[in-house]
Amino acid sequence: MTLSEFLASLDALAAEAPARIEAAADLDAWTEVRNALVGRQSGRLTDLLANLIQLPKEDRREGGIRANTVKVAIEEALEARRLALAAAAATGGPALDPTMPARERWRGAVHPVSLVIDEVVEIFRELGFTIALGPEAEHAWYNFGALNFPPDHPAMDLHDTLYVGDEQVLRTHTSPVQVRTLQQYPPPVRVLAPGNVYRSDPFDPSHAPMFSQIEGLVVDEGVSFADLKATLSHFARRFFGPTTKTRFRPSYFPFTEPSAEMDVQCGVCRGAGCGVCKQSGWVEILGSGMVHPAVLEAAGLDSEKYTGWAFGMGPARTAISRHGIPDIRILYDSDVRFLDQFAR
């Protein structure tokens, strides 16, 4: 073989290769083309290179250089085509209808009442509150006596109580956790106590014999009603929106004094009065007050040195108004069609 014959074959291959490479429609075809051109066993270029040795000695150098140029060009073209084919394969290709649905797993859901508790907990966590818990079956003393309920007083009528033994009740509120916490840990105390509470209320669209409550308690030196107002108003703005207006009304709980209910301006009518707020323009959110000195004393604290404030709210009520749930019993039924609405 002469150099000119060698170079002619090389040129022919260089001219033919690009079209063949482009013609490869998928990765299998590409592999065939690659093998035909540069395959180790029987590739055209491979065969051609084998002929290099037959050239006259003085021509081998030039033949080698020219052959290598063609080889690099073919390999680059092959690689570009391969990448293009791989990209096309990744975006689907004719076998896959991308409009068909994904393979789903069941999605879990947090109960709507838990969602409210979570939000309340998150907001108070930002303010340095930690979580305290207590038992649901309680000594009457923790539920009433330590909380300054006068014995056999009409104040008890507000707490229709379920009894499990002599002087043993299902707690009617989370406030016993106040006393347990203050007995256990020295001030400063800043806790939130979510939990289940029980009332002898028949199960109807707006009452349940068991429901959850969130208690909050702050006790330290120099804590004032201004702290109560500031913290709870801050909470209302974080929870209901930055422009939320609050008001505090006098109320009565045996274990706080002064006692105040906190309302937020009705989000439906913006204070004008509507069915949701019973025409008052305000919606009751929580009960609160300065911890009664008798409660601090029941927990063995010096009520002259320490003051504090507390609040309690019912997350179920917030949940039903937030989600438009018409009957509180739906929260307890555990119907999967209801719970799936909260899946995430």
């Binding site: 393979r103 923790y142 020295p186 014999p209 107002k229």
Partner: protein
């Protein structure tokens, strides 16, 4: 407490409208939760404007076009002579009911109808038709700028408003118009006064006959057996009375607070109760045997027919008013039928007493009724006011009935003077968050009847008035100052606070971890009621070892559960009843175990119940597999790891319905079970998991009035940190073992041999196949494991692996009779 705005205004001429008074009372005293216009019958009427009007020939009628604000002019025929184009009148659209009046004694439903060939779609109204006056000569022209369609009640200052005040148990002094008026006077600066109907009463000439326990005058003896039950008992004898209808002003008062007018004497007692807060009762004096009134405990076996016609069985826990023979009233609760004032009554004994709160409460609870009177006695009335109330009440009844007060009797003593309470202005300022001047404290307290004197230094000595039973400590006075000043006026700047000493409760953090893990697994959190019937599907009878609620709401569910799966099973059945077969629920809640006389043991647990499809239908899998025991086993491991992080978890095979016991750190903490359900045939099997998170102690933390700060538990993070293992530098080698395993041999036994024989170079062992059937001898199954080995320093040779394989097979055959499966 129902407050009539008009009646209140007679006690305190405040010059404000009802809405302003509502807001004032809510902001400073007690919440006004109802605001009811008493002319609610006029609520459907609107302002209508006459746009066109023409005479209907040969009649007194006019045919008009009326704008009622709806945008469509209505055709209305009217018989009044004074219809003026452009003027506004009260308008009744079709469908409105016109109230009964002198013109329409039976009321009138306005309907679309034809009059003389003209259609009429409503009615323009006269004052008389709306009970707004006697004027029947023409329709009532409204002097208003309000747009057509505006409710009439918004335009006319019509009638009285009833304010429903939510009086809480500490403030019985607010259970009267006088009490509310006292607060309104303090807040507005207006003067508290006696209403004209009381101020104009002629004074009673009789002087009260008094006695410590007993008082006697001609015709009546009053005796109190126990001063604790009845600190004070006043009675007036009023003669020459005529029972008849009440005057309009009295009827209006009674009806304004929601009562029903009965007769002049009974209405008078109700006026005094709602007006002054003093319950009173009038007996027909001629029915009292021997002219005697005794306040005593009932005797066993006595009965009394009360005013409501019910015969009540009495017992010694109850306080009664008796005559010489028998009880005639339940003291402070309800009168008796046989001594009731009737149309024939001419002589009454008017009772004006103070009964002990506890005995009234006990009496009314035993008979199961609560009345306006018992409600006030239970909370405490103003004992010091009894003599004055007696005189006022007697005078009012005498005047209304045209009779004469012949005697006043008063047994018992005036209440002891109230103890003074010290209030320090500095403490007021500290608690409220801003300084409050001593002069302001003094003025505010005096404005509601407290007597204030100077105390030591800056302090004030404050004596509460006799009607306030809720003030005995400094903080009670601070509350008075705060609310009169106004909660909304107090500062509310967010200040820095010291961090607390209380660590997060570990059961709460465990709940959050477990919940997050299960939600990630696609499960739904539930918060059901924890009550149970004590019955379960597939189990006989009712369990008697559960914690029983003594006064359960539902007799069929009197117990608290000791298992979360009990509750979840009932919730699954609830779903199955609604054709929902794919159930995947979990709850983190409390299980109660009865402990005799002690409080129950409370455990926080997680319960899981899964049944039905393991995942939603997909086109690649029209029938997704159902949850099976292996899913439950995996979920159990997931839950246990989330609940008790860092602790080794083991699922130990068990028997019967219990598939595995969940061991955490070597202790059984729960189980995985098949759950028996009352289920339809199409339902898939249900699997349950119940795992303990921890116990919630209920023992007292410390004694009453004591603390246990020295023993506050410190809470360290649980579990050992993960130790780093060097990453391998040498390649792994693996082979599969397909084995014929006799049915008596467990997979775990085979695996144990594989591990023991393989030694430390065994890196991983996976059971990847189980097969029975063709080619497998009866009584055996094929199990296949893939074993991965790695030498820490060098590549394993083919020969070594072959040798290990042979050794494994030899040992398995020798120890367990397990042979290789040959193709």
């Amino acid at each position: 407490m129902n407050v009539s705005h008009e009646w209140l205004s007679r006690f305190v001429p405040h010059g404000r409208d009802a809405a302003a008074i509502r807001d004032l009372i809510t902001a400073h005293v007690a919440t006004v939760e109802g605001f009811e216009r008493l002319r609610a019958d006029l609520a459907p009427f609107v302002v209508g404007r006459v746009v066109e009007s023409e005479r209907i020939p040969d009649t007194k009628l006019s045919f008009n076009k009326v704008d009622d604000g709806t945008g469509t002019l209505l055709d209305v025929v009217c018989g009044a002579p004074n219809v003026t184009v452009g003027a506004k009148y009260p308008f009744a659209r079709s469908g409105t009911t016109v109230p009964p009046s002198a013109k329409n004694p039976a009321g009138l439903l306005i309907e679309k109808r034809k009059i003389r060939g003209f259609t009429s779609n409503g009615m323009l109204c006269s004052a008389q038709e709306l009970n707004l006056g006697e004027d029947a000569d023409g329709i009532l022209e409204l002097q208003t700028d309000a747009a057509p369609g505006t409710p009439l009640l918004d335009v006319l200052p019509l009638g009285d408003v009833r304010l429903v005040v939510d009086v809480l148990p500490n403030r019985p002094d607010l259970l009267s118009h006088l009490g509310v008026a006292r607060e309104v006077a303090a807040l507005t600066g207006a003067t508290l006064q006696r209403p004209a109907e009381l101020a104009s009463l002629p004074p009673v000439s009789a002087t009260p006959v008094t006695g410590a326990r007993e008082a006697t005058t001609a015709g009546l003896t009053v005796r109190v057996e126990d001063a604790a039950d009845c600190p004070r008992y006043g009675a007036a004898v009023i003669e020459g009375l005529t029972v008849g209808p009440s005057p309009d002003w009295l009827r209006a008062c009674v009806e304004a607070v929601g009562g029903r007018s009965i007769n002049n004497l009974v209405d008078a007692t109700n006026y005094l109760l709602h007006g002054l807060g003093q319950p009173m009762h009038a007996f027909d004096a001629d029915t009292l045997a021997d002219g005697t009134v005794v306040v005593r405990r009932a005797r066993a076996g006595e009965t009394l027919v009360t005013l409501d016609g019910t015969e009540r069985k009495l017992d010694p826990a109850m306080l009664v008013i008796a005559d010489a023979k028998a009880p005639v009233a339940l003291a402070g609760v309800m009168g008796g039928r046989d001594s009731e004032v009737t149309a024939r009554t001419t002589r009454v004994v008017l009772e004006v007493a103070q009964f002990g709160p506890a005995v009234v409460r006990a009496t009314r609870r035993k008979v199961g009724i609560s009345t306006d009177a018992s409600y006030r006695f239970e909370r405490g009335i103003d004992g010091a006011a009894v003599p004055e109330m007696l005189a006022t009440g007697a005078a009012l009844l005498a005047q209304l009935g045209g009779g004469r007060v012949s005697a006043l009797l008063l047994a018992g003593e005036a209440p002891a003077a109230r103890a003074a309470v010290t209030v320090r202005p500095a403490r007021v300022g500290m608690l409220l968050g801003e300084p409050v001047p001593a002069a302001e404290i003094r003025a505010r307290l005096e404005s509601i009847g407290f007597a204030v004197a100077a105390g030591e230094g800056e302090a004030l000595r404050v004596t509460p008035p006799s009607w306030r039973h809720d003030v005995s400590r400094e903080v009670d006075l601070i509350e008075e100052v705060a609310r009169l000043r106004g909660f909304d006026r107090l500062p509310d700047a967010l200040e820095g606070a010291r961090p607390g000493t209380v660590p997060d409760h570990p059961l709460f953090t465990a709940y959050r971890r477990v919940r997050d893990a299960l939600v990630a697994e696609g499960l739904l959190e539930v918060r059901p009621l924890p009550f149970t019937s004590g019955r379960a599907f597939g189990r006989e009878g009712v369990r008697d070892d559960l914690l029983r609620v003594r006064n359960p709401l539902a007799e069929d569910e009197p117990f608290l559960r000791d298992s979360l799966l009990d509750t979840l099973a009932r919730r699954a059945e609830y779903n199955l009843n609604r054709m929902q077969g794919d159930v995947r629920l979990f709850e983190v809640g409390t299980a109660f175990t009865a402990r005799g006389a002690a409080l129950p043991r409370e455990e926080h647990r997680v319960g899981v119940l899964v049944m039905g499809a393991r995942r939603p239908v997909h086109f690649t899998e029209a029938q997704p597999p159902a949850y099976d025991a292996w899913d439950a086993k995996a979920l159990a491991a997931t839950v246990a790891a989330a609940a008790h992080p860092g602790a080794p978890v083991e699922l130990v095979p068990s028997e019967g319905a219990v598939l595995w016991r969940i061991q955490v750190g070597g202790v059984v903490m729960g189980e995985v079970t098949r759950v028996a359900l009352d289920a339809p045939v199409w339902a898939k099997p249900a699997f349950g998991i119940e795992l303990r998170l921890g116990e919630m102690p209920s023992e007292p933390v410390a004694g009453r009035g004591a603390h246990a700060h020295d023993s506050a538990p410190s809470r360290a993070r649980s579990g050992e940190p993960v130790r780093y293992r060097p990453l391998p530098l040498t390649p792994a080698a693996e082979f599969d073992l397909a084995l014929l395993v006799p049915d008596a041999v467990l997979a775990a036994q085979v695996e144990r041999v594989l591990r023991e024989v393989s030694g430390p170079q065994l890196e991983r062992i996976v059971l990847f196949d189980e097969f029975r059937g063709t080619g497998i001898p009866a009584g055996t199954r094929s199990l296949a494991w893939r074993l991965t080995f790695r030498h820490p320093e060098r590549t394993l040779r083919e020969k070594e692996l072959e040798g290990r394989r042979a050794q494994l097979l030899k040992t398995l055959e020798a120890q367990l009779g397990v042979r290789p499966r040959t193709a």
